[in-house]
């Protein structure tokens, strides 16, 4: 069938399966319908719930301002899908075009979208991770359990890892007058994502708000009492912190295990795809019927030297899902690339933090507006003479301007005056990111140029 005709048929009566019924999955489904897809649509999700929103789980929900049972994502339109909730996809047969699911069924597809996201990295020592009172925070169930314990209230919460999620949890504790200790391997909170200059501000922010912040230390072990409840955490500096709730915030792992052996280019760093969201197989060859979107995807980005970028960003999940959906049912020339400029927000200790671009790629930073001391500022990151990212504390409304600078590869350092530039901001300083080979809590952006499948292939060039 010629491509044009095939796509017409696909739109009319094709079968589309979406694995991962969350943010990216839902937005893709809605886009498919909005663009006239009339065939059958199946949504497979291992969580038993309709798609819900995660950012509130570490913010409004922990503050008791929203119920974890009510963060459903608003629906943009009817999607008329067959929902298979509470069932995990367990395998993929690329040749037969079928997804295997946990109940033994196989679901055939003409087009598949994988949007399985990431899961929280658990505490590595399994018996300690099992202790009552040890939590992670990724899902609605996690939030329900944690929130219940926070209401008790605990004597002290112990957070492992001061990335965005860990810091937000600490903020929610302080907001409710709960004692909290945060332990971070790096020298400051948020350094993996934003570097040491901003990390210093984040550290002061935490300490001023009464967080017992321990940096440059590792947690060596969790200790339970005789009933199996957690009672203390031990640190590498020899100290011990008594606690009854531990939240492990050590970043995330991509949900790609179910694809092992399928032949898809899927590994612990995600699923590699082209700029049009088409997945690669493990040989680096693009598939034409499997698409990926959201946290689980890794795609090449022209603004960052076509390196593969995986993002744990809400906005990216939405934008990428829309592009993937559009491309799934469009013939060649009508396809669009996903060229999203990474953007991430967080709110903690009453401050709105937002970044655009990829800060962790920057080697220098300059404060172009506001002041670090006031904790209201815009900082711009430079990389090889151009603007690569920007971050704002309580200054979100200017970021659009910096986004354009990133998009146009504007020169760094920034040499013009701005309406709120203070003396301290006149010159760039090292952004102070930790050595990338040392693990931190896990940044929310990962850049990598590794082979699609992250397998150790033996390279044997063909003989002529």
């Amino acid at each position: 069938m010629p491509a044009e005709e095939f796509h017409e048929w696909l739109r009319r009566e094709g079968r589309i399966v979406i694995v991962g019924a969350s943010l990216a999955g839902l937005r893709a489904a809605e886009t498919l319908r909005a663009e006239g897809f009339a065939g059958s649509l199946t949504m497979i999700g291992d969580e038993p719930y309709e798609p819900y929103d995660r950012p509130p789980l570490s913010k409004a929900v922990l503050l008791g301002k929203a119920s974890p049972d009510h963060t459903e994502l608003p629906r943009r339109r009817e999607i008329d899908a067959t929902w298979r909730l509470g069932v995990a996809a367990t395998g993929l047969d690329m040749a037969a075009k079928r997804v295997r699911v946990a109940d033994g069924d196989e679901v055939p597809y003409d087009r598949l979208l994988i949007a399985t996201g990431v899961r929280a990295r658990p505490w590595p020592k399994e018996d300690e991770a099992q202790l009552d009172g040890v939590f992670v925070l990724r899902t609605r169930d996690d939030a329900v359990r944690l929130q219940r314990r926070m209401k008790a209230p605990p004597r002290r919460v112990f957070v492992i890892g001061a990335g965005f999620t860990g810091s937000e949890i600490a903020s929610a504790c302080r907001d409710q007058g709960i004692e909290v200790t945060v332990a971070e391997r790096a020298d400051a909170p948020l350094v993996g994502a934003l570097g040491g200059v901003i990390g210093t501000v984040a550290a002061e922010l935490q300490r001023d708000n009464g967080v017992d912040l321990r940096t440059g230390v590792m947690v060596t072990g969790l200790e339970g009492d005789s009933t199996g409840r957690v009672r203390a955490a031990h640190l590498s500096d020899g100290s011990t912190v008594e606690t009854d709730v531990v939240v492990v915030s050590l970043g995330a792992t991509r949900n790609t295990d179910w694809l092992a052996g399928s032949g898809l280019g899927a590994g612990p760093r995600g699923i590699a795809c082209d700029a049009g969201c088409r997945a690669f197989d493990f040989r680096g060859i693009v598939t034409d019927d499997i698409y990926v979107a959201g946290d689980v995807a890794r795609s090449p980005h022209p603004l960052f030297g076509y390196q593969f970028l995986s993002l744990e960003h809400w906005g990216n999940a939405v934008a990428q899902a829309e592009v993937a959906a559009h491309n799934m049912i469009s013939a060649g020339a009508d396809r669009r690339p996903h060229l999203w400029v990474p953007a991430f927000w967080s709110s903690q200790f009453g401050v709105n933090i937002k970044s655009v671009g990829v800060p962790s790629l920057g080697d220098e930073i300059m404060i172009t507006q506001g002041s670090l001391a006031e904790r209201r500022f815009v900082g711009v990151y430079g990389y090889q003479g151009r603007v690569i990212a920007a971050v704002s504390f309580d200054n979100t409304r200017w970021l659009e301007f910096y986004q354009r600078m990133i998009e146009t590869g504007a020169p760094f350092p920034v040499d013009f005056p701005t309406v709120d530039r203070r003396p301290e901001g006149r010159k760039p300083v090292p952004a102070d990111f930790p050595d990338p080979s040392l693990p931190t809590h896990g940044p929310t952006v990962t850049l990598s140029g590794y082979s699609p499948a992250d397998r150790h292939l033996v390279f044997t060039p063909a003989r002529h």
């Binding site: 002041s371 013009f416 309406v419």
Partner: protein
């Protein structure tokens, strides 16, 4: 005006007030228009305006404006009152706006606006009841003006019965914002504007003094008493903020409501749908803010660095005009931009500006206009325009009809 008149001259010319949109279309053909030495650089495309509204090289500071030579109004010496936050840059702007906001909106008072809903509904009902059994009403004088005035008076804590008094000061102040008047104005006119601002400030000072002694549940009391993390406002800052809120709190909403009613009367099918479904007012108001925004242009910006736009270098220190009304109808951004279509999927607009100076009272203006239009649609029996176009107000910046005569068969209960 002669046919050779400059494009800007024609836009500010009162003769074109009723329909400036063809002129805007012409304007958009030149992305950066600079018609005369020393004159402003005029920007009219949607994306350009949006980007300049977020550009930290663009200043709203009254002092920079005065240096660029066109803003006699804002110098502190000139009026005795410091500039309000709309004429300031960060960090001062941020500090004052945050303090003002802490008594008005989220996060401190997230429900203040919504809690006024019932109150607003009552005011609307009373005003419409007041039409009695007239066969003809002036929507401006009998409704669109008294409604927001009453609301802002209540919110601030200004006695409603003082309206005739502060009106005499507000009118010349607002007139002085009109670039056309300003150009032709004589020294007297400027002097009157300055004195009016001072008089209005002094009048409000009396009220603030009262509230300092006996605080009530109103914004003047809050402003006078604020002691947040940002500290408090000085007395002078309280006064210039109060002047700003009092004026901005009604001069724009009057036009939004009136433009809205006019537009609905020109689109009877949508008016009929609104009568049956008050919920439609939400998208109608958004589309109105795009289609007939009450603030047509922002003439109070200067650039503090050379800015390049479409190959034109706007030199440091130049004045920049952002023509919101033109950007809102930019075909590059909107399909069929000259059509009033509340059903268009993504209604975006520059009606409230954008960036740090985006309209402080947007939530209130939206709610007022939604309630007003829905209720007018529901209660007016067979409304029809008696004059089209209606007579407009002088002002090219705050554009709207001076009167809107509507024939009706009666008022439904």
């Amino acid at each position: 005006m002669t046919p050779q008149a400059s494009l800007l001259g024609r836009i500010t010319d009162y003769a074109n007030r009723a329909d400036p949109y063809p002129l805007y279309e012409e304007l958009r053909k030149t992305p950066v228009l600079h018609e005369e030495e020393g004159g402003p650089y005029v920007v009219s495309s949607y994306y350009d305006i949006l980007s300049l509204l977020h550009d930290p090289r663009i200043s709203s500071d009254a002092a920079n404006l005065t240096a660029a030579g066109d803003d006699e109004l804002s110098g502190p010496e000139a009026t005795g009152l410091p500039p309000s936050f709309i004429r300031l840059d960060p960090p001062e702007h941020d500090r004052l706006r945050r303090i003002a906001n802490s008594s008005f909106g989220p996060p401190h008072r997230p429900r203040r606006i919504d809690s006024m809903r019932e109150d607003l509904g009552r005011i609307v009902t009373e005003l419409i009841d007041g039409f009695g059994d007239a066969q003809q009403v002036d929507i401006v004088d009998q409704f669109a003006y008294p409604f927001p005035v009453t609301v802002i008076c209540r919110l601030l804590g200004v006695p409603r019965e003082d309206e005739p008094r502060f009106r005499t000061w507000v009118d010349p102040l607002v007139a002085s914002l009109d670039p056309d008047t300003r150009r032709t104005a004589d020294a007297d006119f400027q002097r009157i504007a300055r004195e009016s601002r001072m008089q209005l400030g002094m009048y409000l000072a009396g009220l603030v003094e009262q509230r300092t002694k006996e605080p009530r549940d109103d914004m003047l009391s809050d402003l006078a008493a604020s002691h947040g993390p940002d500290g408090s406002m000085s007395m002078m800052e309280v006064l210039s903020t109060a002047v700003l809120l009092l004026i901005a709190g009604h001069e724009t909403t009057v036009n939004l409501i009136t433009n809205g009613m006019l537009t609905l009367l020109r689109h009877p099918e949508i008016l009929r749908r609104l009568r049956e479904d008050a919920g439609l007012s939400v998208t109608i108001v958004e589309e109105l803010l795009r289609y007939e925004p009450p603030v047509q242009l922002v003439p109070q910006r200067t650039c503090i660095a050379d800015i390049e736009l479409h190959g034109v270098t706007i030199p440091k220190g130049s004045r920049i005009w952002l023509v919101l009304g033109a950007g809102n109808r930019d075909p590059e951004r909107f399909q069929d931009p000259d059509r009033f279509d509340p059903d268009r999927g993504d209604i975006q607009h520059l009606g409230f500006g954008s960036g740090i100076h985006s309209c402080f009272g947007a939530a209130l203006a939206r709610l007022e206009t939604q309630l007003a239009l829905a209720e007018l649609a529901r209660r007016l029996d067979n409304p029809r325009l008696l004059e089209d176009p209606p007579p407009y107000r002088q002002n090219a910046v705050l554009r709207g009809p001076r009167h809107l005569l509507v024939g009706i068969d009666g008022v439904r209960s």
